[in-house]
């Protein structure tokens, strides 16, 4: 669905703003909200651009910067930290060769941190897009990353 089709799906009322931003962001390969997107949304909902930008930059799951095809969100909340979450985050940084918030050179992954993912019983955990992964170890991360890369190539 393109932006215009997404907008038409919703009544032009303010309460649909978060849904619209989610949908537009998900529809794009670079998983972000461009300036044109924000302008289009503000026109459609008849609210000021700054209001839209205010919302888009308040919530951590929206991005106004281009991102990779898959978003890796590593849980950095205390229960995961206590179970070695930092080691996992460092390992991902090393494996992917990026810092937090950066995208791999092949545009495959963007590495982000997340507050509690709610699977503390299988900490440390991360999410790739909508998929949850728990009980992480460096080996398990290798396996998961390889699987994603193979899926792309295969």
């Amino acid at each position: 669905m393109n932006r215009e089709e997404i907008l038409k799906k919703y009544e032009p009322t303010r309460e649909n703003l978060l849904y619209i931003l989610h949908d537009i962001q998900d529809s794009k390969n670079e998983k972000y909200l461009s300036e044109e997107d924000l302008v289009a949304v503000s026109r459609y909902l008849k609210i000021s651009r700054s209001e839209v930008v205010g919302v888009a930059t308040f919530y951590t799951m929206f991005s106004v910067k281009k991102r990779g095809q898959h978003i890796i969100r590593v849980c950095v909340s205390p229960p995961c930290q206590l179970m070695g979450g930092n080691t996992i985050f460092n390992y991902l940084r090393k494996t992917l060769g990026v810092k937090e918030g950066e995208t791999t050179s092949d545009n495959m992954f963007t590495l982000e941190s997340s507050s509690c993912l709610g699977v503390c019983a299988v900490a440390p955990a991360m999410m790739i897009d909508d998929q949850m992964f728990g009980n992480l170890t460096p080996e398990k991360i290798d396996e998961i990353i390889t699987r994603y890369r193979e899926k792309k190539n295969g």
């Binding site: 989610h22 919530y59 229960p79 206590l82 509690c116 503390c120």
Partner: protein, 540 residues
Amino acid sequence: MAKIYNLLLCAGASCISSGGYSFRDKLVEELKKHNIENMVNIVETGCVGICELGPVVIVYPDGVFYKKLKPEDAKDIVEEHLLKGRVVGRLLYKEKDSEKIVQQASQIPFFQKQLKIVLRNCGIINPESLEEYIGKDGYSALAKVLTEMKPEDVIKEIKDSGLRGRGGAGFPTGLKWELVRNSKGGEKYVICNADEGDPGAFMDRSVLEGDPFSVIEAMTIAGYAVGAKQGYIYVRAEYPLAIKRLRSAIKKAYEENLLGKNIFGQNFDFDLEIRVGAGAFVCGEETALMHSVEGQRGTPSPKPPFPADRGLFGKPTLINNVETYANVCQIILKGSKWFSSIGTEKSKGTKVFALAGAINNTGLVEVPMGTTLKEMVYEIGGGLPNDKKFKAAQIGGPSGGCIPEEYIDTPLDYESVKKLGTIIGSGGLIVMSEDTCMVDLAKYFLEFTQDESCGKCPSCRIGTKKMLEILNRISKGRAKVEELDLLIHLGEQISKTALCGLGQTAPNPVLSTLKYFKDEYLEHINEKKCRAGVCFKKKK
């Protein structure tokens, strides 16, 4: 052909994240290979609770419980158990000390101590099947309410039950309903707070994933009781599976006229919509949540006005959390007397706790209020891994505090826990062994609240930052002793002056560790020593 076996496969987020679906796919493949897929019914249920052992399957009619399943185990379960009737011994649960093998789920100590009201259907029914929910008395409560009870009767029943809010503050639920009912202002709203952001708490996710109809039914009852025609469930975007199952359940409820116009043929309409967050912890605060539903930035507003007077879109609004709603139908069906007979004098019913951290049986447990911390840790939780010594438990997440070893016999109820300077909160219970540094723990939680502070009020925005700076200096051995007083002073000021509940409670993890583990703070400052061996490590 009649189905001979029912395989209950846990499809909660924890089991899926440890490979539950890879196992399922292999299982289906094996069933097909042996041409017996018609004999076996695979039911994907919500969370069974014992996430540590995931992925898990329970095979009925025998009730055999298999744990930690890998895709290659599917072959044995099919060829041995299903075809030859021989239980696969190596996949059974073994008791830790006695090495006793346990076949039935009901015999595992983890389940034996529990009393399930909120989680009654989780792990038992297919969460997306309305028929299965109805088979478990689903929608009998709504039928009773709409045909036999006046709104005032419903509110009286909830009030008499003694149910209190399970989201953190513990406000009497029935009283809240009454305030909204009596509030003047025409249109009213009912909201379910499913923005479960407390690190360490995941019971609301499990209820939504495992029994979404129970929340939908309860919200409909609430709508009838307070006089609202429109409801919203605000779910955090980090819970895609919960959102998916909730969507499917709402759709089915509409198809069967359990939502919409003239429900049960009565003169009562109720519509329900989902609103999805976008990653902001502060939206768990009720005024912030309502702003987010309205499509605004999710920042809190001062109270009063309370939501019961002026809430969503400026109208009177009832807002309860998932676990609170999940109690409602059972109270209506079994009566307030039954409910209030469970728990302690002032804390009625059960509470779901999420066990995490240094504990053998991580997962979700539901116990009567007043169960002691000791029972939770040793009898249900199975003790600490590698027989480590219990040091403390953090309860109530970033808004709560810790309970040290000397108070391990404390009953877990609103009042007893409050006396120790912490809160039941949403029920996150993180167990810590001697390997955890309490300064480090306080720092983790403060880093969290600092990071999640919405920035609207200075005491939270700047105050938590200043506290964190001191903590960082302590953990590096660069602080002065006087700074401990400053830390307490800052904490107390933030508690008094922050705009919302989350800000007001943000200093709790620091204040509570300082109260019980001041010697550890002093060791860091005076001796540059960390007894847990966590701080002062040289960076590699």
